[in-house]
Amino acid sequence: MASILAVDDSASMRQMVSFTLKGAGYDVTEAKDGQEALQIAKSNSYNLVITDINMPIMDGITLTKELRSLPAYKFTPILTLTTESSGEKKMAGKQAGATGWIVKPFNPDQLLATVKKVLG
């Protein structure tokens, strides 16, 4: 099954994302900030990375840039979690190399539909 790296500094969001995806049969690894995610990503491989944007230590934009610079993550789908009001954040994510975004707030069904969109 596809493996997903879920990155969010908020434990409740992380739990929700992870619970929903695991329920759909995905293999989920959690990370609480960009730096932790980067470390984990380097020593594992994932089919998809879902990351929050505003996080301490390393934000989602930086994480996306860093991941894209790694050969193993050159084409890996990366989705950012963003709020509807921040149109410029979506674009910042895209400029950093993100594949797309999931608009917060979202419910488990929307999350699964979006993940399906990139993982098929």
Binding site: S85, M91, Q95
Partner: protein
């Protein structure tokens, strides 16, 4: 979703605490961008979470506050005292809303609305920024029952964002019937072909009753990474020049992204930790308690067998060795488990800066807060209960202690008053000191008030300490006018009562004109206790070691009766009342004389007393079992424990025993009579 709510509430309350602390840290006029970023991030997480978990009211409110923070973060808005104050108010509102959601109750709608209004006023007209959503194009809702002709040509670098054209075409197949025609005309010669680039384009016919916006959504993520044209199938003349690919705001993002990039957050250095329900920890503590009892039982049996073993068998030695090791290990497990519940006192101290901020502006006083020893740890249950008394003492210090700037100036002090909080460990207790450099306690006023209330007799002379101690007496407030900050005379006695119920004590030292220091002493934990086992008649009681000053043998020369009926003992240069434990607990004392008896000198609530016991046994650490939970509250006892031999021993609550003794003797100290009221014979015999 329900199962994530608890986590959401917990982290949101933490986030609010962070916001509050950082807002107070914020240097108005010269704001640290990292601090603003931290505040913003907390608000942002709360907004995101509350939206996701269905708490729209919180999300909407937080959004407004977040917008303000966003402007500060981007440097568009100056950080002013006014905005900080409003944000602090917003934190309160958010906390109240979340508390209501987690614990139930009514939302204070008016207050929420009024704070939101203040925020919006501050934001000015830009408060509609939330509605600028960019899934654009008025033509989106175009419906077409026949289908669409989609021209889709990815830009060369589209693959590098992880987008795959094939997935989008798959997504279209879910909307309707798809037929595609690939355009391969752009594929370069093999030599020039970069395998990471995209060269294909497609003409896609999508048949079926599909909304245009659904198609746009499929290409949502790549709208500026491809040329996209969507035309209705039948009416090809319509809108031929329509350009759906409207790349927007390309200039700004990189700049914003670099600004938003946070540097390492040093302050929130998060140590690796896990979140565990307190009930689980309590269960372990309880089980370890049982383990300690079993262990001491085994130890006792072991040493009895060891004593009886005349042959010194090698097995016996091994057994005793094993038992000794068991004891060590048990002790260590117990200590480690207790540490799980220990938290730094900063959890309580962190409430104070906000309080000082609010009160000092309300009272027009200038106060500097100095805290030390924030990392001193104590048990979570103690911590939860000490919060309110602390808040009360802080209010009291600011309201009654520290003077207004002009009064301070007149008294030759600096206009800025200082409130210091300090915590440290002392033996098995934690000591919290709260001192201010204010006016101190006006002894004369306290004494007059106490006299007029009949608490102190007209001709009675009290030591300075005794006068200061009067402020803990119910119904004694010396503030000249009642304020809503403190002072309806219901405060200090409650503070003392609460601290006492935790097995702690509070006292005050004051120098008039110089300030006052409140010293709170608390046990580190409520679950175990170092106790002195004593024998009274046939029963074993436990006296907490912290209350014991010394144990002595009574010399009748030092005994004296007052008013012909009470026994006092002259201990060096002070007189202490003699309490016969037998009488307090209604037991027979076979020996009515006090000569040569053992007396444990104890202190509770600042009062000393001697307790007559029959024998002093071992000192040991005991696990406290609550009497209230297992039976009911009993005066003079703080709990019970199970000893090594399986018997139950009651733990004395020293302040309670002294109180009981006072009540029994029906007289104001320090002129105690014998506890059961008919003790003139005792005093006579003793004399």
């Amino acid at each position: 979703m329900q199962q994530f709510h608890q986590t959401f509430f917990e982290e949101s309350f933490e986030g609010l605490d962070i916001m509050e602390n950082e807002l107070l840290n914020l240097d108005v006029g010269n704001a640290d961008s990292e601090v603003i970023n931290t505040i913003f991030r907390s608000a942002h997480s709360i907004k995101g979470g509350s939206g996701t978990f269905g708490f729209t009211a919180v999300a909407e409110f937080t959004h407004v506050a977040e917008t303000l923070l966003d402007e500060m973060r981007d440097g568009v808005r100056q950080v002013t005292q006014e905005s900080v104050d409003i944000l602090l108010k917003s934190v309160d509102v958010m906390r109240a809303m979340l508390t209501t959601l987690s614990d139930g109750g009514e939302m204070d709608v008016d207050n929420i609305a009024s704070v939101q209004m203040e925020l919006e006023q501050l934001l000015g007209t830009e408060s509609n920024s939330s509605t600028t959503d960019e899934v654009s194009d008025s033509n989106n809702s175009d419906e077409n029952s026949e289908g669409w002709l989609i021209s889709f040509r990815p830009h060369v670098e589209m693959l590098r964002t992880g987008n795959d054209p094939v997935r989008m075409i798959y997504a279209l197949t879910e909307l309707g019937q798809v037929s595609t025609k690939a355009d391969i005309s752009d594929i370069p010669t093999f030599v020039d072909l970069n395998p990471e680039d995209s060269f294909l384009g497609w003409e896609i016919t999508l048949k079926g009753d599909v909304k245009k916006e659904d198609i746009v959504e499929v290409f949502d993520w790549v709208e500026d990474e491809c040329d996209l044209d969507i035309q209705p199938l039948i009416n090809e003349s319509k809108a031929t020049t329509e350009e759906t690919t409207t790349p927007e705001a390309v200039a700004a993002p990189s700049e914003i992204a670099s600004k938003a990039k946070p540097t390492a957050a040093k302050k929130t250095a998060e140590s690796a930790s896990i979140r565990v329900g307190i009930d689980k920890v309590d269960e372990i503590i309880n089980l370890v308690g049982e383990l300690v009892i079993t262990q001491s039982m085994l130890g006792q049996v072991g040493s009895e067998i060891g004593n009886a073993d005349e042959h010194n068998s090698p097995y016996m030695e091994k057994l005793l060795e094993g038992l000794a090791q068991l004891e060590r290990n048990t002790r260590e497990i117990q200590e480690s488990v207790m540490r799980i519940r220990m938290l730094p006192i900063s959890f309580v101290f962190s409430r104070v800066p906000r309080l000082v901020h609010d009160l000092s502006s309300k009272l027009n006083k200038q106060v500097e807060l100095v805290t030390t020893g924030e990392n001193t740890e104590l048990d979570k249950t103690v911590m939860e209960k000490i919060g309110d008394p602390m808040v009360h003492l802080v209010r009291n210090a600011l309201d009654h202690g520290i003077e207004t700037p002009d009064v301070r100036k007149a008294a030759g002090k600096s206009e800025m008053g200082t409130l210091s909080l300090n915590a440290y460990h002392k033996g098995g207790s934690i000591v919290i000191e709260l001192s201010d450099d204010g006016a101190g306690i006006n002894k004369e006023r306290v004494l007059n008030k106490a006299r007029s209330n009949g608490l102190v007799g007209e001709n009675e002379n009290l030591s300075d300490d005794a006068i200061n101690d009067l402020i803990f007496h119910p119904g004694l407030s010396t503030a000249e006018s009642l304020s809503d900050v403190s002072g309806r005379g219901v405060g200090m006695d409650v503070v003392r009562k609460n601290i006492k119920s935790l097995g702690g004590s509070v006292r005050v030292d004051s120098v008039e004109g110089k300030g006052a220091t409140f010293t709170i002493q608390l046990p580190l934990t409520l679950a175990i206790l170092d106790g002195q086992l004593v024998k009274v008649a046939d029963e074993t009681f436990i006296i907490p070691l912290v209350s014991i000053i010394e144990s002595i043998q009574v010399k009748s020369a030092n005994l004296s009766g007052i008013a012909g009926k009470a026994a006092l003992y002259k201990l060096r240069d002070e007189y202490i009342p003699v309490i016969r434990a037998h009488n307090v607990f209604g037991m027979e004392d076979s020996n009515s004389s006090l000569e040569d008896r053992l007396m444990v000198v104890v202190e509770g609530d600042g009062a000393k007393a001697g307790i007559i016991v029959d024998d002093l046994l071992a000192q040991q650490q005991v696990v406290i079992k609550s009497l209230e939970t297992n039976y009911k509250r009993v005066d003079g006892l703080s709990g019970a424990t199970i000893l090594g031999d399986g018997t139950v021993a009651l733990i004395l609550d020293i302040s309670g025993v002294i109180d009981m003794f006072k009540t029994l003797s029906n007289s104001v100290p320090p002129s105690p009579v014998d506890p059961d009221g008919n003790g003139s014979d005792i005093a006579e015999k003793a004399a």
